[in-house]
Each structure stands twice: as C-alpha cells, then as structure tokens.
C-alpha cells in the first residue's frame, strides 16, 4: 500500500465518520435547541438500560436518535401500487449520495506532514506532505455545484415515481425552487472567485489566513459580508428547510416529494437533509469563515498583531486546525437551526419571487461592485 493511498483512506474514513456523526447528532441538537428556544424540555424519555440492572442511561435524550433509526429500520416498507420501481428505488440514493460526495473537496484541516507526526514512518512517507482534503482538485467549487445540482434529480425522481399528486407537486416545487436558488448561490460565490482568483478550495482557505487592516482576519465574511448573507440564505433554500420548506410543506403536501416513502428510504431523505445542514455549514465555513484558520494563526503557531508569538508543534497545529473547523461547522449548523425555529414559512409564489426579484438582482449587484473594486485595487487598466 502506497502512503498516498493510506492517507486518502484515512481521510475518507474521517470524513464519513464526521458526516454520519453530524447527521446523527444534529437530529438531537435540533430537538434540544428547538425545545430550549420555546421554553420546553425536549425529547428525553428514550434510555438504554444496562443489562441485569435497573440503571437507565438517559443522557439528555441522546438515544432518541438511536430509537428513531431502529424504528425506521424495522418498519414495513410500504409502497403505492402503481409506483415506478427503478425511479422509486433510486430516488433516496440520488438525494443522499451527492450530498455526502460534496465533502470530498472541502478542506477540513491544514497541511499534514505524517513524517513529522510519526517519526517511525518518516522513511515510508519520504517527507511528502498532504493537504487535509480528500480530492485535491483545481475545480473544487465546480464539483460542489455539480454534486449539489444532482440532488434535484433525486427529489424530482422520488416525486415522479411514487405516482401520488402530493409527491408530484412537491417534486415540481423542489425542482423550480432548487434551480432558482442554485443560480443565486453560484452568483454569490462568483464574487469570492474574483477576489481569490481560484476555484481551488484549499487555495481559497489559505488566502483567508492573513489579516486585513492589520487586525481583522481576512475571512470571506469580512471581505464579502453581503455575499455571505445571500449565500447562507440561498443555501438554506437549497436545503429545503424552513422558511423555504415548500417542497415538503406538511400542512399542504403531507411530506412533499417523499410522501409515499416509508421505513429507511424515508429515513435516508431525512438523513440527507441533516447531513446537508452540515455540508452547507462546512461550505460556509470554508468560503466565508476562513475554514480551519483561527485568527492570527499560522502553520508554526500564533503571531498576534501586538507582536507576541506562540510556537506550537506540528501535531498541536493539526489538531487545533481540525477542531477549529469542526467547531465552526457546528456553530453554523446551530445558526441554521436557530433560523429554522424562528422564521415562518414563505408562500410559494413568495419563494420564487424572493429568488428572482430580490436575491438575484442583489447577487448581480454584489458581483458588479466586487468586480469594479477588484479592478480598482489591482491598479485599473
């Protein structure tokens, strides 16, 4: 086994573990945060009993996710009579897989030098370093949009193949909404691409490690606060969550495009939604919150603007960067949940109106202003 393959396998394992953990933990976080925001206690009855004793582990209701998963696995897989077999089976997977694949191009840490971390293996690695990203692609951002565009197919296929008019309506809504907001999403990111001059996410994150005006971290949200707001809004709409959850509006469409799904297939849709919260948060962190960067931190340690420095070993730096990234992702996830439990749902015409008449012109304006500013800063022509 070559060192490259070993490192990539470790990265893939880490990414899958992080995503699945986030998917499972976010169901609990969403319940508890919603409860705290509305003066309630939240789900706390599920427990694990230690065998042969009466000791019940409740742990703040952490096991409710397990109970849900078990229930979904054991439920009858109930299907409509006239469903389309192939599309019905493919739907959940087409909604789930691309969401997970997006994480392949997101850098979740700085540069790893395994030879320095494990001196015993230094010869095997031969001094090579690895950026902490599964697929080192120049066109990382394009991959992100390509994969997140694929999820539309999953939603449409699921709605169409279950031969139910609620599903079909939900699928149509999902399709038009996601395509509209994808446009806004891409336009807002275009401003960042102009500033950083690259599509490579690693390079984008590295360029956010410095400071502007001497003390502010050079994060995307500092350079492009307007684009950051538009991006988060469009990303939540893309994820079909309240206030943009028209495709699965319970009061109108039962569950929208996955009305006819039951058991684990329905669970897959839900799980995809929760993982997409984490993915949106990871993207937002990477593009606008400086990724794994802490303010005034370099690969050698901290260099504060008032002159003090703190030296750190390579292992400590790698650990701090990974934890920083996860903490930022978690905070953005929590912010999305805050939005979901604060705002009411749009009307359907308002959703598309909002995308085309409000956000689209604003994104265009942001792009033009950014282009002119970049042209002026680079010295004009």
């Amino acid at each position: 086994m070559s060192p490259d393959l070993a490192i990539t396998l470790v990265y893939v394992g880490y990414a899958l573990a992080v995503l699945l953990t986030f998917g499972a933990v976010l169901t609990w976080v969403e319940r508890k945060q919603a409860a705290l925001m509305s003066d309630r206690i939240g789900a706390n009855r599920a427990y694990l009993r230690i065998p042969f004793t009466q000791v019940k582990l409740i742990w703040l209701g952490l096991f409710h996710g397990m109970a849900d998963g078990l229930k979904l696995l054991l439920k009858e897989d109930f299907k409509p009579i006239t469903y389309d077999k192939l599309g019905y089976a493919l739907g959940p997977w087409l909604a789930f897989t691309p969401v997970v694949l997006v994480f392949a191009v997101i850098p979740f840490g700085g540069t790893l030098d395994p030879g320095r971390l494990f001196p015993g293996l230094a010869d095997w690695f031969g001094g090579r370093t690895y950026p902490m990203q599964i697929a080192q692609l120049d066109a990382g951002l394009l991959i992100v949009f390509a994969f997140s565009g694929l999820t539309i197919i999953g939603a449409m296929l699921a709605g169409w193949s279950s031969s139910n008019k609620f599903s079909l309506l939900g699928a149509l809504r999902a399709g038009s909404q996601m395509i509209s907001y994808e446009l806004v999403l891409a336009l807002t990111v275009l401003g960042l691409i102009l500033i950083y001059g690259t599509l490579d996410l690693i390079s984008i994150v590295q360029q956010q490690s410095g400071t502007v005006l001497g003390f502010l971290p050079a994060w995307g949200i500092v350079l492009q606060p307007f684009a950051a707001t538009l991006f988060l809004t469009a990303a939540i709409a893309e994820n079909k969550r309240i206030p943009f959850d028209l495709p699965e509006a319970e009061s109108e469409l039962i569950a929208g495009y996955f009305t006819e799904y039951s058991a684990m297939k329905m669970g897959l849709f839900m799980f995809a939604e929760f993982i997409e919260i984490a993915i949106v948060a990871a993207l937002f962190t990477t593009l606008f919150l400086g990724g794994y960067n802490l303010p005034w931190m370099t690969d050698a340690g901290f260099v504060f603007p008032w002159g003090a420095t703190v030296e750190l070993s390579h292992g400590a730096v790698v650990l701090i960067q990974m934890v920083t990234f996860l903490a930022k992702v978690f905070l953005v996830c929590s912010f999305q949940i805050l939005i979901r439990w604060s705002l009411p749902r749009f009307r359907y015409d308002q959703v598309l109106m909002f995308a085309w008449k409000f956000m689209f012109p604003l994104a265009l304006a942001n792009l033009i202003v950014t282009a002119v500013a970049v042209w002026l800063i680079k010295g004009g022509a």
Binding site: Q33, L36, R40, I41
Partner: protein, 195 residues
C-alpha cells in the same frame, strides 16, 4: 361578456399588515427576530447549566404541580363514619353509579347485621379511572356525603388500563376523611387576588 371586476377585488382587512421601508428591507427585522429567539435560548441554557430549570414543562409524573386549584376534581375519597368504627359512610344505595355518565362505578352491596342503623354496606366499591371523566356528579348525587373528590390525583396513571380499577380499600385509606361537616374552601374576596 364583460364580468364585474369588483367581485374579484381582494377584501381589505382592518388589520392588513402595512410594511414600512425598514420592514421591507427584511434583514433587520429578521435579525431582530433571531435575536429574540436566541435570547430565550441563551436564558434557558444558562438556567440549565446553573442547575435550575429552564422550561415551563411539568415533568409528569416525576414532577407534580403544587398549584392545583383548591376546587380541582381529582381522585375520589370514600369517607369514614365519624364514630371511629372505621366503617365506610357509604350505604350502597347505587345513586352515584346510576348518575355516573361514564358508568365507571361498580358497587356490590352486603348485609351488616352488627349495625342495625346502617345494615346495607358496600362489599365492593370500584371506580375505573381509565374511563372516569371527573365530572363530579357522583359527589353531587350522594345523599350521605360518602364520596368526595380531592384536588390531588396521586397514582392514577398506569401503563395498563386493567390496573386503573381502584377499589374500596384504597378509596377509604389513601387520604382518610370522616363524615364531619364538609370543609368548603374559604371564600376569597376579589381584592384578595383569589386563585
């Protein structure tokens, strides 16, 4: 043929929301809303983390509310005779069972030769709390003040509806009261705040 356009005009409501420029900007008002909800979150989180309760929920059945109304109709009590004999006041006349709209009271009468004044006594007196609607008609119907309702409802919930039959022994003993003049709650004046 031209139709009457006015018929299709949208109705104007007296509380039609009017948005000013500030509201039409969306973002400031959304941020204000998020600030309100996150303030509640932070307040409740701080309460939980300092060991206080950050919710309005009563965690039943582990927790009981202390502020039940004094005239709340809860679990029934069979009163005891005031002579200290420990016998129930009930004379098994079946009036409560007859008036009960949910038909949850079952009484089986017996003969007690030792008490010539009250020869008829209940051998069984059972209430099915899975069906009781707590209307209080049994209390109204009783000619002997033998059945009362307390404001508390201890040990009523159960995981099995067959466990929710409560018999004479428990009704007599869970909160023993004897047949003396009924203690009505003191009249509260309006200015006193009431309950």
């Amino acid at each position: 043929m031209a139709y009457d356009v006015r018929a299709y005009r949208r109705k104007q409501y007296w509380n039609e929301p009017v948005m000013g420029t500030w509201e039409k900007l969306y973002l400031p008002e959304i941020l204000r809303g998020l600030f309100i909800t996150s303030r509640v979150f932070v307040r409740n989180m701080a309460k939980w983390m300092t060991g206080r309760k950050g919710a309005l929920t009563t965690y039943y059945p582990e927790e009981r509310r202390a502020d039940y109304s004094p005239i709340n109709r809860g679990k029934h009590i069979l009163t005891l005779r005031a002579d200290g004999s420990g016998k129930p006041q009930c004379i098994a006349c079946n009036m409560c069972a007859t008036v009960c709209p949910a038909k949850v009271i079952e009484i089986e009468a017996a003969f007690d030769p030792s008490d010539p004044v009250h020869p008829k006594v209940p051998a069984r007196f059972e209430i099915d709390y899975s069906r009781c609607i707590f209307c209080g008609l049994c209390v109204e119907a009783c000619p002997e003040d033998a059945i009362r309702m307390d404001k508390d409802t201890p040990d009523l919930p159960s995981r099995d509806r067959t466990d929710m039959w409560i018999g004479k022994e428990e009704l007599l003993s869970w909160k023993p009261q004897s047949d003396v003049a009924k203690k009505y709650p003191k009249a509260t004046t309006r200015s006193g705040g009431g309950h």
